[in-house]
Symmetry: C2
Subunit: 130 residues, 2 copies
Protein backbone atom coordinates (compact mmCIF):
# COMPACT_ATOMS: atom_id res chain seq x y z
CA UNK A 1 0.00 0.00 0.00
CA UNK A 2 1.28 3.44 -0.91
CA UNK A 3 1.29 6.12 1.78
CA UNK A 4 -0.64 9.35 1.20
CA UNK A 5 2.37 11.66 0.90
CA UNK A 6 3.94 9.38 -1.75
CA UNK A 7 0.66 9.45 -3.68
CA UNK A 8 0.61 13.24 -3.52
CA UNK A 9 4.20 13.52 -4.79
CA UNK A 10 3.52 10.97 -7.56
CA UNK A 11 0.43 12.92 -8.66
CA UNK A 12 2.46 16.16 -8.79
CA UNK A 13 5.20 14.51 -10.91
CA UNK A 14 3.43 15.45 -14.15
CA UNK A 15 3.31 18.88 -15.83
CA UNK A 16 -0.27 18.41 -17.13
CA UNK A 17 -1.57 17.59 -13.66
CA UNK A 18 0.25 20.62 -12.20
CA UNK A 19 -1.27 22.78 -14.98
CA UNK A 20 -4.74 21.44 -14.08
CA UNK A 21 -4.17 22.43 -10.44
CA UNK A 22 -3.01 25.90 -11.52
CA UNK A 23 -6.16 26.26 -13.63
CA UNK A 24 -8.32 25.26 -10.64
CA UNK A 25 -6.81 28.07 -8.56
CA UNK A 26 -9.04 30.43 -10.56
CA UNK A 27 -12.17 28.54 -9.49
CA UNK A 28 -14.06 25.26 -9.85
CA UNK A 29 -14.70 24.06 -13.38
CA UNK A 30 -15.98 21.18 -15.51
CA UNK A 31 -13.89 18.47 -17.17
CA UNK A 32 -14.68 19.79 -20.68
CA UNK A 33 -13.57 23.32 -19.74
CA UNK A 34 -10.43 21.91 -18.14
CA UNK A 35 -9.62 19.90 -21.28
CA UNK A 36 -9.76 22.91 -23.67
CA UNK A 37 -6.30 24.48 -23.18
CA UNK A 38 -4.54 21.09 -23.18
CA UNK A 39 -5.42 19.74 -26.63
CA UNK A 40 -6.22 16.42 -24.93
CA UNK A 41 -9.19 14.09 -25.14
CA UNK A 42 -11.80 14.08 -22.38
CA UNK A 43 -10.78 10.55 -21.30
CA UNK A 44 -7.10 11.56 -21.07
CA UNK A 45 -8.00 14.52 -18.84
CA UNK A 46 -10.34 12.30 -16.80
CA UNK A 47 -7.47 9.92 -16.13
CA UNK A 48 -5.32 12.79 -14.79
CA UNK A 49 -8.25 13.98 -12.66
CA UNK A 50 -8.63 10.51 -11.15
CA UNK A 51 -4.96 10.55 -10.11
CA UNK A 52 -5.36 14.02 -8.56
CA UNK A 53 -8.59 13.01 -6.80
CA UNK A 54 -7.08 9.75 -5.50
CA UNK A 55 -4.14 11.75 -4.08
CA UNK A 56 -6.56 14.11 -2.30
CA UNK A 57 -5.45 17.11 -4.38
CA UNK A 58 -8.90 17.80 -5.85
CA UNK A 59 -12.50 16.96 -5.02
CA UNK A 60 -15.38 16.60 -7.45
CA UNK A 61 -19.05 17.51 -7.11
CA UNK A 62 -21.60 14.71 -6.92
CA UNK A 63 -24.03 16.02 -9.57
CA UNK A 64 -24.46 13.35 -12.26
CA UNK A 65 -24.25 15.65 -15.29
CA UNK A 66 -21.98 18.39 -14.03
CA UNK A 67 -19.21 17.25 -11.71
CA UNK A 68 -17.21 20.40 -11.08
CA UNK A 69 -13.58 19.93 -9.97
CA UNK A 70 -12.15 22.03 -7.20
CA UNK A 71 -8.77 22.18 -5.58
CA UNK A 72 -8.46 20.63 -2.12
CA UNK A 73 -5.50 22.30 -0.40
CA UNK A 74 -4.99 19.83 2.45
CA UNK A 75 -2.63 17.51 0.51
CA UNK A 76 -0.51 20.48 -0.58
CA UNK A 77 -0.45 21.68 3.02
CA UNK A 78 0.97 18.25 3.96
CA UNK A 79 3.77 18.73 1.39
CA UNK A 80 4.44 22.16 2.92
CA UNK A 81 4.60 20.65 6.42
CA UNK A 82 6.99 17.96 5.18
CA UNK A 83 9.22 20.65 3.62
CA UNK A 84 9.47 22.59 6.89
CA UNK A 85 12.58 20.84 8.28
CA UNK A 86 14.38 21.19 4.93
CA UNK A 87 13.42 24.86 4.76
CA UNK A 88 15.29 25.39 8.02
CA UNK A 89 18.27 23.58 6.50
CA UNK A 90 18.51 25.72 3.34
CA UNK A 91 17.83 28.92 5.25
CA UNK A 92 20.75 28.16 7.57
CA UNK A 93 22.90 27.61 4.48
CA UNK A 94 21.77 30.92 2.99
CA UNK A 95 22.44 32.69 6.29
CA UNK A 96 25.96 31.24 6.42
CA UNK A 97 26.63 32.24 2.83
CA UNK A 98 25.36 35.74 3.53
CA UNK A 99 27.55 36.07 6.63
CA UNK A 100 30.54 34.84 4.65
CA UNK A 101 29.95 37.31 1.79
CA UNK A 102 29.45 40.19 4.23
CA UNK A 103 32.69 39.27 5.95
CA UNK A 104 34.56 39.03 2.62
CA UNK A 105 33.21 42.44 1.66
CA UNK A 106 34.26 43.97 4.98
CA UNK A 107 37.71 42.40 4.62
CA UNK A 108 38.21 43.62 1.08
CA UNK A 109 37.27 47.12 2.28
CA UNK A 110 39.91 46.97 5.04
CA UNK A 111 42.44 45.03 2.92
CA UNK A 112 42.59 42.07 5.37
CA UNK A 113 42.42 38.43 4.26
CA UNK A 114 39.67 36.13 5.62
CA UNK A 115 40.64 34.09 8.69
CA UNK A 116 40.33 30.30 8.66
CA UNK A 117 37.28 30.53 10.95
CA UNK A 118 35.51 32.90 8.59
CA UNK A 119 36.08 30.56 5.66
CA UNK A 120 34.08 27.89 7.51
CA UNK A 121 31.36 29.85 9.24
CA UNK A 122 29.47 27.88 11.90
CA UNK A 123 25.83 26.81 11.67
CA UNK A 124 23.16 29.10 12.98
CA UNK A 125 20.12 27.74 14.77
CA UNK A 126 17.56 30.26 13.53
CA UNK A 127 15.58 30.15 10.28
CA UNK A 128 14.59 32.92 7.91
CA UNK A 129 10.81 32.59 8.04
CA UNK A 130 8.38 32.46 11.00
CA UNK B 1 12.01 14.40 -21.77
CA UNK B 2 10.88 14.86 -18.19
CA UNK B 3 11.09 18.35 -16.69
CA UNK B 4 13.17 18.89 -13.54
CA UNK B 5 10.26 19.61 -11.18
CA UNK B 6 8.48 16.40 -12.28
CA UNK B 7 11.70 14.46 -11.63
CA UNK B 8 11.94 15.99 -8.15
CA UNK B 9 8.34 15.09 -7.30
CA UNK B 10 8.80 11.55 -8.69
CA UNK B 11 11.94 11.08 -6.58
CA UNK B 12 10.07 12.23 -3.46
CA UNK B 13 7.19 9.81 -4.11
CA UNK B 14 8.89 7.05 -2.13
CA UNK B 15 9.12 6.74 1.68
CA UNK B 16 12.63 5.18 1.60
CA UNK B 17 14.00 8.05 -0.48
CA UNK B 18 12.39 10.59 1.87
CA UNK B 19 13.91 8.71 4.84
CA UNK B 20 17.34 8.89 3.14
CA UNK B 21 16.95 12.66 2.76
CA UNK B 22 15.93 12.98 6.42
CA UNK B 23 19.03 10.98 7.42
CA UNK B 24 21.23 13.29 5.32
CA UNK B 25 19.93 16.32 7.23
CA UNK B 26 22.22 15.23 10.07
CA UNK B 27 25.29 15.37 7.82
CA UNK B 28 26.97 13.73 4.83
CA UNK B 29 27.44 9.98 5.01
CA UNK B 30 28.50 6.89 3.04
CA UNK B 31 26.24 4.46 1.22
CA UNK B 32 26.96 1.65 3.69
CA UNK B 33 26.07 3.88 6.66
CA UNK B 34 22.92 4.98 4.89
CA UNK B 35 21.90 1.38 4.20
CA UNK B 36 22.11 0.26 7.87
CA UNK B 37 18.75 1.45 9.27
CA UNK B 38 16.82 0.32 6.17
CA UNK B 39 17.50 -3.42 6.16
CA UNK B 40 18.19 -3.10 2.43
CA UNK B 41 21.02 -4.31 0.22
CA UNK B 42 23.73 -1.90 -0.92
CA UNK B 43 22.56 -2.13 -4.55
CA UNK B 44 18.95 -1.35 -3.55
CA UNK B 45 20.09 1.76 -1.66
CA UNK B 46 22.39 2.73 -4.55
CA UNK B 47 19.42 2.64 -6.90
CA UNK B 48 17.47 5.04 -4.66
CA UNK B 49 20.52 7.31 -4.43
CA UNK B 50 20.77 7.43 -8.22
CA UNK B 51 17.14 8.59 -8.44
CA UNK B 52 17.78 11.27 -5.80
CA UNK B 53 21.01 12.38 -7.48
CA UNK B 54 19.38 12.48 -10.94
CA UNK B 55 16.60 14.67 -9.50
CA UNK B 56 19.18 17.06 -8.05
CA UNK B 57 18.16 16.29 -4.44
CA UNK B 58 21.59 14.99 -3.38
CA UNK B 59 25.16 15.29 -4.59
CA UNK B 60 27.94 12.73 -4.15
CA UNK B 61 31.65 13.19 -3.53
CA UNK B 62 34.06 12.22 -6.30
CA UNK B 63 36.46 10.08 -4.21
CA UNK B 64 36.62 6.57 -5.74
CA UNK B 65 36.42 4.62 -2.47
CA UNK B 66 34.38 6.94 -0.30
CA UNK B 67 31.65 8.84 -2.12
CA UNK B 68 29.84 10.69 0.65
CA UNK B 69 26.24 11.71 -0.07
CA UNK B 70 25.01 15.12 0.91
CA UNK B 71 21.70 16.86 0.60
CA UNK B 72 21.42 19.54 -2.10
CA UNK B 73 18.61 21.90 -1.07
CA UNK B 74 18.06 23.67 -4.42
CA UNK B 75 15.55 21.12 -5.77
CA UNK B 76 13.53 21.29 -2.53
CA UNK B 77 13.66 25.08 -2.71
CA UNK B 78 12.10 24.78 -6.21
CA UNK B 79 9.26 22.71 -4.73
CA UNK B 80 8.81 25.40 -2.08
CA UNK B 81 8.67 28.12 -4.76
CA UNK B 82 6.12 26.11 -6.73
CA UNK B 83 3.99 25.75 -3.57
CA UNK B 84 3.91 29.50 -2.95
CA UNK B 85 0.78 30.35 -4.98
CA UNK B 86 -1.12 27.42 -3.39
CA UNK B 87 -0.02 28.55 0.05
CA UNK B 88 -1.76 31.87 -0.54
CA UNK B 89 -4.86 29.93 -1.59
CA UNK B 90 -5.11 27.76 1.54
CA UNK B 91 -4.22 30.65 3.83
CA UNK B 92 -7.13 32.67 2.40
CA UNK B 93 -9.36 29.68 3.07
CA UNK B 94 -8.11 29.42 6.66
CA UNK B 95 -8.65 33.16 7.13
CA UNK B 96 -12.24 32.88 5.90
CA UNK B 97 -12.89 29.91 8.17
CA UNK B 98 -11.45 31.78 11.12
CA UNK B 99 -13.61 34.86 10.41
CA UNK B 100 -16.67 32.63 10.12
CA UNK B 101 -15.97 30.85 13.43
CA UNK B 102 -15.34 34.16 15.19
CA UNK B 103 -18.63 35.48 13.87
CA UNK B 104 -20.50 32.34 14.94
CA UNK B 105 -18.98 32.66 18.42
CA UNK B 106 -19.96 36.34 18.67
CA UNK B 107 -23.47 35.50 17.52
CA UNK B 108 -23.93 32.64 19.96
CA UNK B 109 -22.82 35.02 22.74
CA UNK B 110 -25.49 37.58 21.74
CA UNK B 111 -28.11 34.93 20.90
CA UNK B 112 -28.40 36.06 17.24
CA UNK B 113 -28.43 33.64 14.31
CA UNK B 114 -25.82 34.01 11.52
CA UNK B 115 -27.00 36.08 8.53
CA UNK B 116 -26.86 34.60 5.03
CA UNK B 117 -23.87 36.84 4.23
CA UNK B 118 -21.88 35.58 7.21
CA UNK B 119 -22.51 31.96 6.22
CA UNK B 120 -20.65 32.68 2.97
CA UNK B 121 -17.85 34.99 4.01
CA UNK B 122 -16.08 36.71 1.13
CA UNK B 123 -12.52 36.07 0.01
CA UNK B 124 -9.72 38.06 1.53
CA UNK B 125 -6.75 39.14 -0.51
CA UNK B 126 -4.05 38.83 2.15
CA UNK B 127 -2.10 35.70 3.12
CA UNK B 128 -1.02 34.47 6.52
CA UNK B 129 2.75 34.35 6.03
CA UNK B 130 5.17 37.02 4.72
Amino acid sequence: MTDRLSMTFAALADPTRRAILARLLTGETTVSDLAKPFDMSGPAISKHLKVLEHAGLITRGREAQWRPCRIEPRALKNVDDWLERYRQFWEERLDRLEDFLNELQAESATGRRPTKASRHPKEKSHGRKK
